[in-house]
Symmetry: C2
Subunit: 218 residues, 2 copies
Amino acid sequence: MEIKVMKNILNANQNKADEIKQHLKEKKVLMVNIIGSPGAGKTTLLEKTIESLKETYSIAVIEGDVATDRDARRLQKYDIPIVLINTDGACHLESISIQNALAEFDLDKTDIVFVENVGNLVCPAEFDIGEFAKIAVISVTEGDDKPEKYPLLFREAKAMILNKVDLIEYTDFNKTEFDESLRILNGGLSKFEMSCRKNEGLEGWLDWLKNTHAETAK
Amino acid sequence: MEIKVMKNILNANQNKADEIKQHLKEKKVLMVNIIGSPGAGKTTLLEKTIESLKETYSIAVIEGDVATDRDARRLQKYDIPIVLINTDGACHLESISIQNALAEFDLDKTDIVFVENVGNLVCPAEFDIGEFAKIAVISVTEGDDKPEKYPLLFREAKAMILNKVDLIEYTDFNKTEFDESLRILNGGLSKFEMSCRKNEGLEGWLDWLKNTHAETAK
């Protein structure tokens, strides 16, 4: 009974996600789904990314949060459209909420939609929300064993951001083991190392976004 | 329909949790449920705690993990009973698995059971697994806004460990704001600051465990 209900939820979610994908494709909008632990640096990544791209691209943001509007408020300074989804305790976003949120944007005038998912490495990886790509964000202070311990996200992601590399010397993070576990899980993953807080090392990620958007807009 | 099923799951979980609580009380066993983000330092906390207490107390561990036995293997060196629960993708532990795991221990010869929950600040806080206390583990590198963003855990917890304080000078962590948000959420919370990796500052936490165990064993 529980299993059947869960399957129905996942099927309904996937149908809605497929509708979203089709709609975004028609509108030539790139949507990425940013997933990482609490405190991995997802909002700071968004801040620095928006600062760099907002003159060139029309950007909109969907902020997923369990309980507050803290992250959404942090992005208000950029004067871009933001929809906040408070999940009221739920641990991930689903496609029905994303569809409602997207209806708030003028997609004919939007290039990129960033979705910041709830801080969680487990459940958000299971739910397609109609994104073109899942982006895994992990910080060196979380440890090099995270891909092996939370494999689904790293298998599903098209790109991975290793954040807080400025702190690596104060940790036991083993870059060789980390890279090896990613290679085994997902050899095609695009990988970027940076310090979002210090605004260092974002170039590769920004180029990836620009190229990916160009593909989407073809 | 979904809501009703979820309620049934939570009720079934709570009934089982109540049975566990009663059983542990009869056996004078203290069980604590350790909850935190991926990489907050839960396993390292267990390592240092077991090292300090294993001569005085009979300790057993239940390790919750999405996919691997990495954390369980890290604890094998202490020659204590360990049961690994692989949730196979699920984001939290439930009381039925805990009851099965406890059946593997000789509770007449056990003083303290540590449960390391799945790395996640959201779902584990919703599920009573029969523990005497939930322990929230958070590291300074995750940021001072985590209690406000993930309030349920910090409301439910009896004790909170702020880990990786040796890294605080390299972060923007604001201790005053952090303490203030905890005070608002849960004024009765016992708070401990430490660096598990450097084995510094654990005394208050170890005293809390000793006193809490003494209360349980009365």
